[in-house]
Amino acid sequence: MASSRFLAIRNPLWLLAASLAVFLALDNGIFRSGMYARFANTETLPAQVFNTVHFENLRPATGKREIFLAGASTMHWAFWCKQYNLAHENTGYAFVMGAIAGTNEEMWYYVLRAVDPDRDRYAAIVIPNAGYIVDSWHDDEAENYDDAEMLAPILSLSEWPGVIANFQNPDLRWKAALLAAFPSHGDAADLQDLILHPSLRAARLRQRWAGGAFWLYDWPGTPGSMQDFRAGPGNGGVAVFPSDLNSFERANSIDEFTRPSPRDAAINTARNAQFQAFWLNKIIARYAGSSTILLFAQIPRWPMPLPARGPIAGAPDLRQLLTHDVNTVFLPEDAFVSLEQPKYFHDTIHLNNVGRAIFTNLLGDQVLRVLETQGQEAQGSHAQRKTT
């Protein structure tokens, strides 16, 4: 490839410096600024994180005291903001959905930083967990590079050191550091999809821009239940799947019925407890002294006891690992246990639309009760201070 003489640089060091400068300027201008994320596939997890934050920041205020729902897909599938808000219009409160599939406590921390920079936007933040007693699991949640990729579109440069330091594996730290330095490095599959299917991408984007954050408010949930589900030999203990589970959901179900080795379970439980406590305590510390109430809730965990997540001896209780501040509230652990039945679940972790309707009312009412009680206590202490 011949180069033009006009403006060409011949000295190799200057040429290298100028080429790197062009690369870094474009890399940051397109990928770190969030510009590319606006055109990212709506279905990828990094795009979902970006879009949730983006649309939450664009959303006009409801005029009511807002309650933000953090969490992963288990919360996203479980609570229907639109239904509850319409049915309880006169309470003075409105729920907003901020739960994003595939996320964890670390990502909730950064999402909250992005949507609530001044810590004064929400009356309460509901933070779900899949069991106060930290359950065993196949994976080490803390050592997942996907977390860094998902967070990349919303992280500022100053936030990256915290994300990198969270990895214990030096290879993952290095990969995360590269992603921090070169933000374009995390979007190869998405960019490839954009190049190969531009018209499909354009159609999806038009739909998204026209519908706004419809998936956060209007999504009606999923039918189908786990009543046909039968445990048995083969398939990791699964004999019959409900007919409407796709292959991905079936594979997940098999995972849930495969008991990890006691050694892995012990290591991963300890690591996951440490990971969850670390990031949840960072959220608690962030909101310390603010007027936002942090509500922790053990949401419906499973349609039936799952071997993969059976408690292990000495598993820590998350409540004991977290800082108890004046604005932290732990909902009772048995608050939603009645929903842990096959007829309320779509698969092994997500509620179906029947379970969702019940859970929405149960959680919504409990949260409002807590907020009213806290409000009365605050008024009481205010009156007491005045009298004194």
Binding site: M1, S3, A21, V22, A188
Partner: protein, 462 residues
């Protein structure tokens, strides 16, 4: 430290800058130390092997040059070659049995050292007196992983200039371009094809004929893109230090027949074998006429096959190509008679020959790509409908893996036939955008489009 890592390129930028700051008399030692450090980052014990092999070859070269009698020269030459071949064969054959790792670049630096011994035997003036410069020849880090196999006179002649000369700006910029082009071939094309192959290879019998046929074509195209990509990077890195290595590819699938293709594919190895094996053999067997030619071709091609590894699969790979080359050589006259008289028939023959050549190379890849003859036979049966194909199709493969396959195959093929029409486009681009803008955009493309690499370079294992 691999060639396709940010860490490598950071170190490279520092090392190349320092190279031109080092006084001329120290450059050889500096680059030798750098090459040994690069090798040591892979394996310290095998660095010792490299040093010992280099010292032994240096000594053998001196013994050959200074021997008074022809017989002594021959003994030193044969001894040196035999020792190096035993070393390669020992690790290729015995290493696997004993679970030893194959020393990085052994096949390449051994062939370089053999070339040196033969050259000294043929012409004593080829003797290299400077030990550091000599040791740099096999250890030169841009070429040690997978070649190209540069000839000693060519290397030493260039090094004499490079060791004293100031930085050649144009040569270094050529190096940048080669490195960027190589990275694109490897990371944007070869690795995408590799990801598709990795999915199908787990259970090929579960996929339908179309997927299997595409996968087998991908073997050839991935190998080309991966090896040509590596070669470009190696040549580019060499140029940063003032050394221009020999090319390995020259539009191999534009060749009209398989004989022509082997003049354009892995050229540094095939030319090495032509000069040091085929030609001497042909001279020795010239009395046998056509039978001698057939024997020479067969030995040469089997040697190429076994150079990759002492396995039945590579033996079959070499034997298959020997058969194809012999048929091509023996039918040269009738083909010329049939197709060579009119321009139209010549063009048609060239086109059909190029397609046939690609097909034959792809067929031979069944041996090259698979680990066992059983596995090669399975792929062959799936391809020829001898075994019923499975039901899984393109839609059953993750879309980010299956979607780019056709485009990457087309791109790899386009480059393998010499990228016709690219130069004018390059000239226009060059006129529109200054060099630093082009390279900045290329870096962005590489950074944004690189998928998780399936691993190192395919030829790194040989």
């Amino acid at each position: 430290m691999g060639f396709v890592s940010v860490a490598f390129f950071l170190c490279l930028a520092l090392a190349a800058t320092a190279f031109y700051a080092v006084p001329g008399r120290w450059r050889t030692r500096y680059l030798l130390a750098l090459s040994y450090a690069f090798y040591a980052s892979w394996s310290l014990p095998y660095l010792l092997l490299l040093v010992l092999a280099s010292l032994a070859a240096f000594g053998a070269g001196r013994a050959i040059a200074h021997a008074a009698e022809e017989r002594s020269k021959k003994i030193f030459l044969a001894g040196g070659i035999a020792a190096l071949l035993v070393l390669v064969a020992g690790f290729k054959g015995g290493g696997e049995i004993k679970g030893l790792l194959f020393p990085l670049g052994l096949s390449y630096y051994s062939f370089k050292l053999i070339a040196y011994l033969v050259e000294v035997y043929w012409d004593e003036s080829a003797l290299q007196a400077d030990l550091a410069a000599f040791c740099l020849y096999p250890a030169f880090f841009p070429q040690i992983v997978s070649g190209p196999i540069q000839r000693p006179q060519d290397f030493f002649a260039q090094w004499r200039r490079a060791a004293r000369a100031p930085a050649d700006f144009a040569g270094i910029e050529d190096g940048f371009r080669l490195i960027l082009g190589g990275l694109m071939l490897k990371l944007l094309i070869a690795d995408r094809l590799g990801a598709f192959i990795a999915v199908v290879d787990v259970e090929p019998e579960r996929f339908n004929w179309g997927v299997n046929a595409a996968c087998i074509c991908c073997y050839t195209l991935q190998l080309y893109a991966d090896f040509a990509g590596y070669t470009n990077i190696a040549l580019g890195v060499g140029k940063l230090f003032g050394i221009t290595g020999p090319p390995n590819f020259n539009a191999p699938f534009a060749a009209a027949n398989i004989q022509d293709m082997w003049r354009r594919w892995h050229m540094s190895l095939t030319l090495w074998l032509t000069d040091y094996l085929f030609m001497p053999l042909q001279m020795a067997l010239r009395g046998l006429g056509r039978a001698g030619l057939v024997l020479c071709i067969t030995i040469n091609m089997v040697a190429i096959g076994l150079w990759h590894g002492l396995t039945l699969n590579f033996l079959c790979f070499g034997a298959f190509h020997a058969l194809c080359l012999n048929v091509t050589a023996l039918t040269a006259k009738p083909r010329k008679f049939l197709f060579g008289r009119r321009a139209v028939t010549r063009a048609a023959a060239h086109l059909s020959g190029a397609v046939l050549t690609f097909g034959l190379m792809t067929l031979s890849m069944l041996f090259f790509h698979t680990q066992t003859l059983g596995s090669a036979w399975l792929h062959f049966r799936l391809l020829t409908f001898l075994l019923p194909a499975g039901v899984l199709g393109w839609g059953d493969i993750r879309s980010d893996v299956s979607d780019p396959v056709i485009a990457c195959m087309a791109l790899a093929y386009y480059f393998s036939i010499g990228a016709p029409g690219l130069r004018p486009v390059g000239r226009v681009a060059g006129a529109l955008a200054p060099n630093w803008l082009q390279y900045g955009l290329a870096l962005l493309l590489i950074s944004a489009m690189t998928v998780e690499s399936a691993g190192g370079f395919i030829y790194g294992q040989f």
